[in-house]
């Protein structure tokens, strides 16, 4: 995929001036990464076959990790750069505009890793984090179950200490992203019965190795044709007792830390990624106009939508900048992650729909917008549906009664 490089240049660039001056170190960081990407982003398109594509992406992440460009927010002792939130903001911006492939081990890099750093033992960190960073071990997230979605605390998967140093895990997880390729799953499960209606107690976060025959992975075919996620059956699956983030019974707390990372982080990636899509749509339109193949009434329809979405992308960039500044000041991700997640997921859907309407199917000369359109429908469901996000915002930001 080639990006319209003029999209960033005056006078008509799509990424408007953010209205802030980055300091010298930040500018240096940005140009260093930009130069590295220019030399290293694969020029060939990712393979069509899903397994091959996964290996292609794994290799890309390994390359990033080898040069210290994966998990940049991680502390240096675990292979990161200790980058602050503003550097992350710049990092994702550069990745997007360079047309770089996505990072593949995100459930590990962005969720399990940081949570492990807060709630995990030093021994676990030393053992698991480096392999997570290089995508040697792929991680997946075991939260949702067939009967358990938004109401997460009602989950039924259980782990029992068998008295011989092993957690024995029984239950079923679903919508588990990357499960078909995963080496570990962080499984939220019940290790003790709740007292009365205090159902947030007695939950634990067990790290289950996937390479055992007591774990059965059934890939699920998604509406976009991919098999990225799966149903995972734990049938007396085993995990050593020390394979746990936080202690027994601390699982809910750990899960909430993790969800805040999840909702906080995705926003950083997406204003630039969406602006890149708008740049592609514009390039397509310009070419079609000079070829005389765009009906005028299409332009009448497209213009207001394009302007609206461009404006919202600018605002998303401002939100992300504001959040990055807040995180750098040491504030916790908190419920504002829900706000940003709600905003970008709905924005992505609108951008993808515009892309499909303008560019059409087939992905001629670039992005397959039909696929993007279908894939985007998941964004308002995963990581908490838009409805749940609105509840969180209403309860925790607006302080409305529950």
């Amino acid at each position: 995929l080639k990006i319209d490089t003029t999209a960033r240049s005056e006078p008509s660039r799509l990424a408007a001036d953010l209205g802030v001056q980055f300091n010298e170190a930040e500018d240096r960081f940005r140009s260093e990464f930009r130069a590295w990407l220019a030399a290293n982003v694969p020029t060939e398109a990712p393979p069509a076959d899903e397994d091959e594509r996964f290996e292609f992406l794994r290799a890309w992440q390994r390359l990033l990790a080898d040069e210290g460009w994966a998990g940049i927010a991680w502390p240096t002792q675990y292979g990161g750069r200790g980058a602050d939130a503003i550097q992350q903001f710049l990092y994702y911006d550069e990745l997007a505009w360079a047309g770089a492939p996505e990072l593949v081990n995100t459930p590990g890099l962005l969720l399990a890793g940081p949570t492990l750093m807060i709630h995990g033992s030093e021994e676990l960190k030393q053992r698991l984090l480096p392999r997570m960073l290089s995508a040697t071990d792929i991680w997946c997230q075991g939260f949702s179950e067939p009967e358990v979605g938004s109401d997460l605390a009602s989950l039924k998967t259980r782990a029992i200490d068998d008295g011989a140093g092993v957690w024995v895990v029984d239950g079923q997880k679903v919508w588990t992203t990357h499960a078909p390729w995963a080496d570990y799953c962080f499984v939220l499960c019940r290790t003790a019965e709740p007292a009365g209606d205090r159902r947030y107690e007695g939950l634990s976060m067990v790290l289950v190795p996937m390479g055992q025959e007591q774990v059965v992975v059934t890939p699920l075919r998604q509406m976009n044709g991919d098999h990225e996620y799966a149903q995972v059956l734990f049938n007396r699956a085993q995990a050593p007792l020390d394979m746990m983030i936080g202690g027994p019974g601390e699982g809910w707390n750990v899960a909430m830390t993790l969800l805040e990372f999840e909702r906080a982080d995705q926003g950083f990636t997406d204003h630039s990624r969406l602006l890149v899509r708008l740049a592609e749509i514009r390039t397509f339109l310009a070419a079609a106009r000079s070829a005389g193949t765009v009906p005028l009434d299409l332009l009448d329809d497209v213009r207001p939508r394009f302007v609206e979405l461009w404006s919202r992308c600018q605002l998303l960039a401002q939100f992300n900048l504001g959040r990055a500044l807040a995180l750098r000041r040491g504030e916790k991700p908190g419920p504002w992650g829900s706000f940003v997640k709600l905003y970008w997921s709905e924005l992505w859907q609108a951008v993808a729909e515009l892309g499909l309407d303008v560019v059409g199917e087939g992905g001629e000369g670039g992005r397959d917008f039909a696929r993007d359109y279908l894939t985007s429908r998941g964004a308002t469901i995963y990581s908490g549906t838009s409805e749940i996000q609105r509840n969180v915002i209403g309860d925790r930001i607006l302080g409305l009664p529950r």
Partner: protein, 377 residues
């Protein structure tokens, strides 16, 4: 936005104010300015002033205007050497947000923002001094056109303008003339011969949108050519930022009133804000308000840094804020039910402000066209 006390089980209070952890942080001086302004404005209930403006048709309270001058609000954009405070647009938007929050009726936008910006470019020091001191009221006509007859001893101007903010309280009209060889900005005395100012019908009584006709009115040329164009463009940008900040302030006030009612009012044994149909409406307003506020702060920073896209983003901010206020006011009316539909409830005053503002400093459609052009769509 007030409503009668309901069957309230007052306990948990809704949270107010903007998100410190989402928005670009305010400086300490800006926080202090906000506190000062709010303390002054909160001396009377917002709806009181606006309703009185609607009932009397009177916009300007001379004593209040003098107090605004004393508090240095009128000289925010006037250089210090001329008695002003020489502030940034980021500072201005703090003040404007508070003015909008309390629906403050005054010719502030016309004189202290649009007028002061043009006068600063014209280096009209005497007038600037008077603006900051509260003794001169000016207005700027941006929509419309006129032609100047350049008699070296006594130039005159003829033409017509619409949507001139608060022209009926101005002593001096600053008019643009593009129908000449080169663009000009001229000053015309409101009392001069050939000047007609008429207040147009408007839903919003807190701001008078006027039609101005000049017929061979004597004028003084302040700026010509590129200098005139730059001054008008910057006045437009500053005006859009200030107006957008006002609209955002009003929108947040509407949301606060909605939240208060949704918390206090009980039906079916529960506060109505616990119902998702109501709660999610409030969240929709929050999203619009926070987005608009981010847009205003962004545009203000760009304008303060002379960024090339400042005017474009100021237009975006104006459109977003206008939409946010319309939404926030309609939701305030809806959620407050029968109470929301009352004259005595403030929500409709904000809705009036929102609808009337749509014509001001560029409509949504006009801004959309200029963004589309700039982006090459």
């Amino acid at each position: 936005v007030t409503g009668p006390a309901t069957n309230a089980a007052r306990g948990r209070r809704p949270r107010r104010g903007f998100a410190a952890d989402l928005q670009f942080p305010e400086s300490r001086a800006q926080v202090a300015l906000r506190d000062e302004v709010r303390a002054y404005l909160d001396r009377s209930a917002p709806g009181e002033r606006a309703r009185s403006a609607a009932e009397t048709g009177k916009l300007l309270d001379v004593e209040v205007w003098a107090e605004m001058a004393r508090m240095e609000w009128l000289g925010l954009l006037v250089p210090e050497a001329l008695g002003g405070a020489e502030c940034t647009l980021a500072d201005v938007s703090v003040l404007a947000e508070e003015l909008g929050r309390s629906l403050f009726p005054s010719p502030f936008l016309a004189t202290a923002i649009l007028g002061a910006t043009v006068l600063r470019h014209a280096q009209a020091d005497d007038l600037l001094r008077q603006v900051a001191g509260g003794s001169a009221l000016v207005c700027v006509a941006l929509d419309g056109d006129a032609r100047v007859v350049e008699d070296p001893s006594a130039p005159t101007i003829s033409g017509g303008f619409t949507c001139v903010v608060d022209a009926d309280s101005a002593h001096t009209l600053l008019l643009c003339a593009r129908g000449t060889e080169q663009a000009m900005v001229v000053a015309v005395d409101a009392s001069a011969s050939g000047v007609t100012v008429r207040s147009e019908a408007s839903l919003d009584a807190t701001r008078h949108l006027c039609t101005v006709h000049v017929d061979a009115a004597p004028c003084r040329v302040l700026l010509t050519g590129d200098l005139a164009e730059t001054a008008l463009a910057e006045a437009g940008t500053a005006g859009m930022v200030a107006l957008a900040a006002e609209l955002v302030g009003g929108a947040r006030r509407c949301l606060d009133a909605t939240l208060e009612h949704a918390t206090d009012r009980h039906q079916f044994g529960r506060p109505i804000g616990s119902f998702q149909a109501v709660k999610h409406k409030c969240v929709e307003v929050l999203v619009a308000v926070e987005a608009a506020r981010a847009a205003v702060a962004h545009a203000a920073r760009l304008a303060d840094a002379d960024g090339p896209s400042a005017a474009l983003l100021a237009g975006t901010a104006k459109v977003m804020s206008n939409r946010a206020l319309t939404l926030a006011a309609t939701v305030a009316i809806q959620v407050q039910g029968g109470t929301g539909f009352l004259w005595e409830t403030d929500a409709h005053l904000y809705l009036r402000r929102a609808k009337a503002s749509e014509r001001l400093l560029g409509t949504a459609a006009q801004h959309r066209i200029s963004v589309a052009r700039t982006l090459g769509i």
